[in-house]
């Protein structure tokens, strides 16, 4: 841009960006500071008095630690499921087979429904008496118990929630990887084939390197999303039975609105957000690098 405009432009840039920035400061950053302040306040204090008591309590709270553990395994298993299914489907869809548009649209459907509906859907499918899963299994394995309780089973409740979340989330990873696959130039494969590279070698030397950035972006984003997943768990199990399927977001919600322990819930929310921030750094760095 010509130098005559620089001074003027610099200020105009601020003018364009200012409304959004101020709005975000008001509706997001200001409330976040209230949470931070509350997290350092004693229970039910009238005024503000600095104390780390809520955090000390949090670190010794087995329920919170359990929710952290659950959240991490929820995130990890969901990411594995999303990646395996997403990559497999993307590779299959990239072959340009007849009917691929149909398959792509169907495969996308789970992603298009709200989380809460996905939770309801699986709650109904897994219903021990009237649901679809038990009769379905019994047609293949007649000895399977007729009224098997998936969501109140101590070992299977949490894995069931994870399977529901894999179902809900694989399509997005799939479309991202498919977009990445389509962007790999065909000549690279042809050149590798001419050099005598077999299928597996082509996959590891052409496909994977070509996909590496989009894989990183997809996984980094997925991690953040699954870490804060809320509605699916609420609709499917509500965190129960007991605290078996409790994740951080449901626990913070309950601590605020069912146990009414404002200061303690604030400390939990801050801890959760601190971890979430660290987890989102890879994505912020990845995208930030592209912007330069």
């Amino acid at each position: 841009m010509r130098s005559g405009h620089t001074w003027h432009d610099r200020h105009l840039g601020y003018a364009f960006v200012l409304p959004a920035t101020l709005l975000l400061l008001a509706v997001l950053i200001f409330p976040a500071f209230i949470t931070l302040k509350a997290s350092f306040t004693p229970d039910g204090a009238a005024g503000w008095r600095f104390t780390p008591a809520q955090y000390l309590k949090a670190f010794r709270d087995p329920v919170l630690m359990h929710a952290f553990k659950n959240t991490f395994s929820f995130v990890a298993w969901s990411m594995v499921g999303h990646f395996v299914l997403g990559l497999g489907l993307a590779l299959a869809l990239n072959q340009a087979l007849p009917g691929q548009t149909f398959f792509r649209l169907i495969a996308l459907v789970p992603w298009t429904i709200p989380d809460v509906v996905a939770g309801i859907l699986f709650r109904w499918v897994l219903n021990p008496i009237h649901g679809a899963i038990n009769p379905l299994i019994r047609t293949f394995i007649p000895s399977f118990p007729a009224e098997f309780q998936w969501l109140s089973n101590p070992t299977l409740a949490f894995p069931s929630v994870i399977v529901a979340n894999v179902w809900r989330g694989y399509p997005l990873v799939m479309v991202m990887l498919l977009a990445g696959l389509m962007a790999i130039p065909r000549e690279l494969y042809e050149a590798a084939a001419v050099d005598g590279a077999g299928k597996i070698r082509r996959f590891f030397h052409v496909t994977l390197p070509g996909l590496s950035t989009i894989i990183l972006i997809a996984l980094a984003l997925d991690m953040v999303w699954e870490f804060r997943r809320f509605a699916l768990v609420v609709a499917m199990t509500g965190g129960g039975p007991g605290t078996l399927t409790e994740v951080l977001s449901t626990l913070v919600y309950k601590t605020y609105f069912q146990f009414f322990s404002f200061e303690y819930a604030s400390a939990m929310a801050i801890l959760m957000s601190a971890v979430l921030f660290v987890l989102s750094l890879p994505y912020i760095i990845l995208v930030g690098r592209e912007q330069r």
Partner: protein, 285 residues
Amino acid sequence: MNGTALTSERQERRIDAIVSYGLLILCTIFAIFPFVFMLSTSLKSEAEALSLPVRWIPKQFTLQAYTEMWTLKPFGSYFWNSIVVSGVTALLSTIVGALAGYGFSRFQFRGRTSLLAFFLATQMISGVLVIGPYFQILAALELYNTLTGLIIAYVTICLPFAAWMSKGYFDSIPKELDEAGLVDGASRLQIFLRIICPIAVPGTVSTLLFAFLLAWQDLLWALCLVSIDEKRTVTLGVAFLVGEFVIKWPMLTAASLIGSLPTILLYLFLQRFYVEGLARGAVKG
């Protein structure tokens, strides 16, 4: 030699196709099976949904659930609330976000990179961080249990998204157009409104629709900021049906399907655009 290479390649292709179809068919069943069951339940009478053995295809098709949801439960008002809240949020976020997106795309100013990172980072925040203060602040402002309160809350999700989405779109419009306008003596605002905005219509409409869907899908905020039936959104109304002592499954599944209709249709239409936005930093949770 050449002939065998060709046949082995053809054979390889055939195996590829068989494996791919196998995987696609299995996944299609996995993807669609819960849906089909939900659809089938929504077309049953309540008695049939609870009768054994479980039937895949209703013995007696009925639209009872689809009519009852509007009379037994006020789904009409739930829909209206969702439309108003999501619509206003989307409009507000897209307008303010487009201004910011244009600013980020076209101007160099001090703090630009940090501000961009700030907008990106705010997309990563979980609403859980601020639901407590929101409850207090909105109660103090007498905005608890109002659609206005929900709109303010949804701006926190939709605005950072819209800013990044439109920045990406403006980046794809050549800067030469702005420069040509400057040469013609137009002001920056005129250039934005008269030259760039008309070109950016498709991108802006997509941003608007995505912002709409973001607000439409939410449950967390509605759960925390609305406690009266008249102000419930569709997702909240559906979630409350699950919490009832006796769940009316046909009505619940029917309401879930109707409530998902906007998101299903729009996401399927707009998915390509959405994926482009993702790689550029516009993120939906």
